[in-house]
Symmetry: C2
Amino acid sequence: MKNLATLVAAAIVTSSFQVPAIAQETAPALTTAQAGAADRLIDAGLEDDLAWDILESLTTEVGPRLGGSPAEARARDWGVAKLKSLGFKNVRIETYEMPYWARVSESAGIVSPYPQPLAVTALGGSIATPEDGVTGEVVRFPTLLELQAAPETGLEGKIVFVDEPMARTQDGSGYGTAVAKRSQAAVEAGKRGALAALIRSAGTDSHRNPHTGGAVRGAGKTAVPAAALSNPDADQLARALERAKGPVTVNLNLQVETKETVVSGNVVGEIPGQTDEIIVIGGHLDSWDLGTGAIDDASGIAITTAAAKLVGDLRGKPKRTIRVVMWGAEEVGIHGGKAYAEAHKDEMDKHVLAAESDFGAGRVYRFDTRFAEEEVGKAKVFEGALRRLAVTPGNNMAFGGADIGATRDLGVPVVSLRQDGTDYFDLHHTPDDTLDKVDPEDLRQNVAAWAAFLYIASELDGDFGRLPVRGDGQ
Amino acid sequence: MKNLATLVAAAIVTSSFQVPAIAQETAPALTTAQAGAADRLIDAGLEDDLAWDILESLTTEVGPRLGGSPAEARARDWGVAKLKSLGFKNVRIETYEMPYWARVSESAGIVSPYPQPLAVTALGGSIATPEDGVTGEVVRFPTLLELQAAPETGLEGKIVFVDEPMARTQDGSGYGTAVAKRSQAAVEAGKRGALAALIRSAGTDSHRNPHTGGAVRGAGKTAVPAAALSNPDADQLARALERAKGPVTVNLNLQVETKETVVSGNVVGEIPGQTDEIIVIGGHLDSWDLGTGAIDDASGIAITTAAAKLVGDLRGKPKRTIRVVMWGAEEVGIHGGKAYAEAHKDEMDKHVLAAESDFGAGRVYRFDTRFAEEEVGKAKVFEGALRRLAVTPGNNMAFGGADIGATRDLGVPVVSLRQDGTDYFDLHHTPDDTLDKVDPEDLRQNVAAWAAFLYIASELDGDFGRLPVRGDGQ
């Protein structure tokens, strides 16, 4: 997941956990039969084994699946086969084109005065260094703000080191600041004539697995090669700077591969409804290349697919079509999410609601909506059903997910089933994002919450209004 | 540390935590002044900052320091300067020759049916693969025993995978079994015609940092290239084998460098005593190459040096000389420990007691001795002094430490200040063995326990007898 900064900003803006009084008065309710069905879906979700099987299958049989890579193409084939085998209809790949970036090799080390290797990983989109790397004196900035405040000269021939730490939070709000550092260090260093930028990983762990992530969106030509140090290596470099009597010199060598255009795609499957209205849900199929993407975002794929299957297994068609999308190439530019909105812009008026699961497999603890103001009372129906799963009512400022950002910007209401992310950034974008990190019971709680949400979203009388259209969805 | 298997076997053999009644009757006691001094040393140890400074200095300014490498030579220079700056006397390097082995590069991956990289590290002493690696079908053995029980043919062209897990224990007793797997897999696989051996790391964590360690001692010519998979990668390979309909093929590429003879050395410093009797203590200066060796064994160096300094700072000379040794090249064959015993064999009768700290920086929770039977009552004196640090009496089957094994075998009594190793094998021999893993308060408790032990060992009337001489100390 990315662009959590947006979410965080939204959460800060609104501190209200109450719906307006007028909305409460007009809030609809489920019928007794519907309430019973939602309850039984929660029971079934809490005993679900399908999500784990999907998660294990994708992370084992495909493994890492970088956006635009042959591995991501194998993941699409996997997705088509999986959705078909589960009985989804209209299963297809919707292709799009995108630029390609991949790491080839990466290494770094202190050259003097304390020669030793440093664990680094290239940030996504980084340019390569020359073949022998770059070697320069390290200049440390405790935060990105201090780098931004530095004069626009004086770093010629230097390697910038942005040592800003990241806060551990349940809601992921530490990530906004961390993303700023990750995405801007290369540009800010380049502006000032530096050779390269190193950042302390945007992560909360203390293992020697650096965190990758997108670096230089819209950066223009000043961006220099950029890499993340693992947190212990950032500690080490900071200590070396403290202990050394003179300059600390580092070598950084990043080699990357790029292609102007490759083909990627979204995998789509449906549980056809009685009407032409659509509820679109899913996760992103791609992962960073370092781990097997168990929490980011095979869990989201597994949770949403298993929840849709539970709803699809009920007697009779759902009222609305449930469309599951495995978005492609999210990590490297949200290509799949943007392509989906573009490809489906003519049927956006049929899209009643959108939601993405893309924050690991931690328990859902809060339900946020972004409904039209006049429909916000409907949140109460979901909140009531989810209460037994220890899900607390949230606000009407839901982010929704990176891949439905473009869809949301075309006016489609969204919800967020907010997950506990306390440990998420220990693993996020590292080699350590592997299956063993997922708790099967937490995964089941997610399936239960999503199944109940999805059922209600499909069956509830009336829709959730429309959001203001922003831009063109791009 | 290594050879813990010996320690574990000893712990299993004896379950007695009592000293014989006869020894209790003759047990000596500290004078009031001595008891007060021991107590004040504990107070000082609990406020000690020197051990942390030594630990930070060695791990930062030298970093990884593989036995026999240029980095280990820098560590010796560091050790000499550190001991001199702290006021130790007779500071010197005692050199010896040893064979050299170093990793150059290592990689592995599933080739089919689920192509993806696997995180591996070469086991110490492994031979190289051909330049393009070896590729073969994986044959999994749940334990070493099952590999050992397999017929001596039938694995031609295969890659053996020993998937045996390791138990998490406070006393490190899970390591004995794990070492057997690590040291014997390559030989057992080679005997049966296999191309290579992969083992599940001898470690208790779930991070993608494989655990290295010595592999092929006395293995002869049948040993094949051998590497450890991280625990998540071993899980992944096991799952791939379960899910694949046909064979799972893996490529393993290990490149190594060896030299017949290089020079290494032990760093020695002393606090001269009033007599020519010697108490020898220390830790090992080398580390594996992957981490900075904070827990293995810069902590041991720091704890014993800081404790000796505290005792040396008391008014007047200690009764016995306290000799601190930073043994070299322990991980790659206990070369320093053996060389020490050989170089000092003519003064072994002056060695009253030996002890090593080489199990990380976890709190000391038990005090074991290996005294002559008739002197075992003296353990009570130490036990009494250490009680306020929550150190419990142990038995008289102390291992002592790998580097004092050869000294012990020449008849010198030893003690073990047993440390809590519950988390030790999460980090041991991995890139994750870094400074941030050490708790400063635990480190201080170690210094306090070692200072009190050392003071009593130096001042107590009478010695600890002699142990049976075993072999020639080699």
